[in-house]
């Protein structure tokens, strides 16, 4: 008989009942996973939180529920049942409880679908959340692990309670009247755990990767299969998402999130203000969100946590940059490099345009030593964990040490350390030992006259060569000869005195 329900209301009601059924299954199965459930409240509504409750949708469970429903809705004579059973590691199994979502003929015609029915269904879901923690199977499911596991099975059709043994109890979760019937949710649970009583069920971590034969009862089948079902365990989708189940399919269906505050006596006037999900509407609706932020972490001690997963990448700070700026002040610390205290060190770090070429050459010479010093410094420094030790210029690469190519103030030089390293043996020719001679190739130079470079040339001809006569052994020898040959020379000169006089006259 026509209940006077408008098509829109009927459509809404069917949708509510469908999603209520799916959410019911989710709540029941999640309550038997063996872990604590935690979801977050959110003050801004999203389109995917049916009944204004944050209930995660496990894809496999939704898939199983939809398979069982096969497009139908719970109706009169057609109940949706979730059977929870226990299976031991030896293979024994036992039904623990059966949750039934039924519909009876008692209709409540005057009730407002979009508002009252929806809210009452929401309250019923909350009641289900509370009751699922109260039945005996909850404690058993929290202790599942090595000895036994909890399985679930969804079927549609007639309720079968024979597997619950003698004296099973029934608890009614709640009822919600609708214009097409009254939705009833109840649970029948076994009280006789006889074959369990001799076993010790210890608390242990859930087994990961458990494979259980799963068998889902085809719809309308009254034949009860061998008591197999789906295991009540779940691992987060990012760990083992085999792609078998597409995300949260129902996220495409938007749930009602908008209500009207019109007086309830106006049954259908609210239609005007009711925002159907199909309409564009406010931004809060129509979010087919897959809720990527919600992840369930199974198998952990702390229970199931639903938090956004933010991998924290701390800065990789083992190379902390403590790059001391090369300032003239820091250069002053390189006192040890300039051994004899002249002004060279001041010019040592100037850019490559010195005023005095000789001075510059001096500076460059010294600089060679300075730069060259660095490799050994860096080698030592590396062992001292100096920053950028790995990037220190290698001593044999003259290009890097070339102050003409690179301005002198660029290299990272931990000057205090360098100062300390060179504080000893910096006098006289001592540092020569620390110096490794490097070919110095100045820019624009060319080997032409002498096959030598500027530095070598300079070193060689820096001072005039020693006078031969002044060299000791030669000079002594020549002196002796001279003295010996002197009388003879005098005799010769006196003989030729006229010639000499004529010569002198010629010169004047």
């Amino acid at each position: 008989m026509d209940s006077g329900l408008s098509p829109q209301d009927k459509k809404d009601l069917d949708k509510f009942i469908k999603f209520f059924a799916l959410k019911t299954v989710q709540v029941i199965v999640q309550a038997r996973l063996g872990e604590k459930i935690c979801t977050r409240s959110s003050s801004s509504p999203t389109g995917s939180d049916w009944f204004n409750l944050a209930i995660k949708d496990i894809p496999e469970v939704t898939h199983e529920a939809k398979r069982a429903l096969a497009g139908q809705l719970p109706g009169i004579g057609r109940s949706m049942c979730v059977e929870i059973s226990l299976k031991t590691s030896e293979g024994d199994s036992m039904e623990l409880e059966t949750w039934c979502l039924e519909m009876n003929e008692k209709c409540d015609k005057d009730i407002k679908v979009s508002y009252t029915v929806y809210n009452r269904l929401s309250v019923l879901l909350k009641s289900l959340l509370a009751i699922t923690r109260v039945t005996p199977a909850y404690k058993l499911s929290r202790k599942q692990g090595h000895d036994y596991v909890i399985l679930y099975r969804i079927y549609f059709g007639e309720v079968q309670l024979s597997g619950l043994g003698e004296g099973f109890q029934t608890v009614r979760v709640g009822v919600v009247g609708t214009p097409v019937g009254t939705v009833t949710l109840s649970c029948a649970y076994r009280t006789n755990l006889a074959f369990m009583s001799n076993r010790q069920f210890e608390r242990s971590a859930p087994i990961m990767g458990i494979i259980v034969d799963h068998f889902v009862d085809p719809p309308y089948s009254s034949h009860r299969p061998a008591n197999m079902g789906q295991p009540c365990n779940y691992r987060p989708p990012d760990e083992e998402d085999g792609g078998a189940f597409v995300g949260v399919q129902d996220s495409q269906e938007v749930c009602t999130t908008s209500f009207s505050t019109s007086p309830p006596s106006q049954l259908y006037a609210s239609r005007l203000s009711y925002q159907p999900p199909a309409a564009a509407g406010p931004a809060e609706l129509c979010h087919p969100a897959a809720n990527p932020n919600q992840m369930m972490h199974g198998g952990k001690e702390g229970g199931v946590v639903l938090v956004p997963a933010h991998p924290v990448h701390g800065a990789d700070a083992h190379l902390t940059v403590e790059h001391p700026p090369i300032t003239p002040g820091s250069i002053g610390d390189d006192d040890s490099l300039s051994h004899s205290g002249d002004g060279r060190r001041d010019e040592g770090r100037r850019s490559a345009s010195p005023s005095d070429p000789v001075e510059a050459l001096n500076a460059f010479t010294r600089k060679i030593g300075a730069f060259v010093n660095k490799p050994s410094t860096q080698i030592t420094a590396a062992s001292l964990d100096l920053p950028f030790a790995a990037f220190a210029p290698r001593g044999l690469d003259s290009e890097e040490n070339d102050p003409m190519v690179q301005p002198p103030d660029s290299p990272p030089c931990p000057s205090p350390l360098q100062a300390s390293l060179h504080s000893q043996g910096s006098e006289g020719s001592g540092p020569q030992d620390d110096f490794v001679m490097v070919d110095f190739r100045p820019a624009f130079s060319k080997d032409d006259l002498l096959p030598m470079d500027l530095g070598t040339f300079y070193r060689e001809f820096q001072n005039p060569p020693q006078l031969a006569s002044l060299s000791l052994h030669i000079s002594s020898q020549s002196m002796a000869d001279d003295l010996d040959s002197l009388p003879e020379k005098l005799a010769v000169y006196e003989k030729n005195i006229d010639e000499f006089d004529a010569f002198v006259d010629m010169l004047q």
Binding site: K36, S41, S42, N52, L129, A130, V134, K139, P282, E284
Partner: protein, 218 residues
């Protein structure tokens, strides 16, 4: 309109008082809280999402579900701990009662202050016992867990009768019906009070009335 009144009785050990009260109060508030309302134009509103949290009790073999709201949890814990302190200060075999009252505010004309009209009152009577040894305590753990389970079923049964609930308010009236002070959930306006009776069961020698949710003081 008559106020609906429900009474729950529990017998617990002293250290179980807090968790037992939290379990029952949170179970009731779970059903009596909604998401935050967001009013839009044309008198429509959308409702936020309520998350839930499983809480294991330490001294009782019991797990209850509460709303995922730390603010609300703090308020309830504070009230319960005051009740517990009062109970323990009163005497060894203390009996007490904690009440959770849902009310509506009705604006009155000046100079009268707003009326608070309760529409549902839950009273939880607590009887504290002392146990002699550990074995008794262990039995008590399980028994109280079962009893609390029964109480939760009672609560659910009452609530699912779907008797009077204040009608959904317009934006201007929302504070007369709901507690909008929390940022993530919105319970109906409530207040928690308690009273301690001494062991003779006579009426209170010290009545401590704690208003957790104040009415608007004009």
């Amino acid at each position: 309109m008559n106020c609906r009144s429900e009474v729950l009785e529990v017998t617990v050990e002293a250290r179980q008082v807090e968790e037992a009260m939290l379990a029952l109060l949170h179970t009731i508030l779970l059903h009596r809280s909604t998401g935050k309302f967001h009013y839009k134009k044309e008198g429509t509103y959308s409702i936020g999402t309520v998350g839930t949290l499983d809480i294991d009790c330490d001294f009782i073999d019991f797990t209850f579900v509460r709303v995922s709201s730390e603010e609300l949890d703090r308020v309830i814990r504070k009230a319960v701990s005051e009740f517990k302190d009062a109970l323990s200060n009163s005497g060894s075999d203390g009996m007490g009662q904690i009440s959770l009252e849902f009310y509506q505010k009705k604006k009155s004309r000046w100079p009268f202050s707003d009326e608070c009209i309760p529409w549902e009152v839950w009273s939880i009577k607590v009887n504290v016992v002392n146990l002699a040894n550990e074995q008794e305590r262990q039995i008590c753990r399980e028994k109280v867990g079962e009893k609390l389970g029964e109480k939760v079923i009672n609560v659910v049964e009452v609530i699912n009768r779907h008797e009077y609930l204040p009608k959904m308010p317009t934006q201007s009236e929302v504070d007369n019906v709901f507690d909008t002070s929390l940022k993530d959930v919105q319970p109906y306006l409530y207040k928690i009070t308690f009273q301690i009776t001494d062991s003779l069961g006579t009426s209170v020698s010290t009545t401590m009335r704690r208003l957790i949710k104040d009415t608007l003081a004009l």
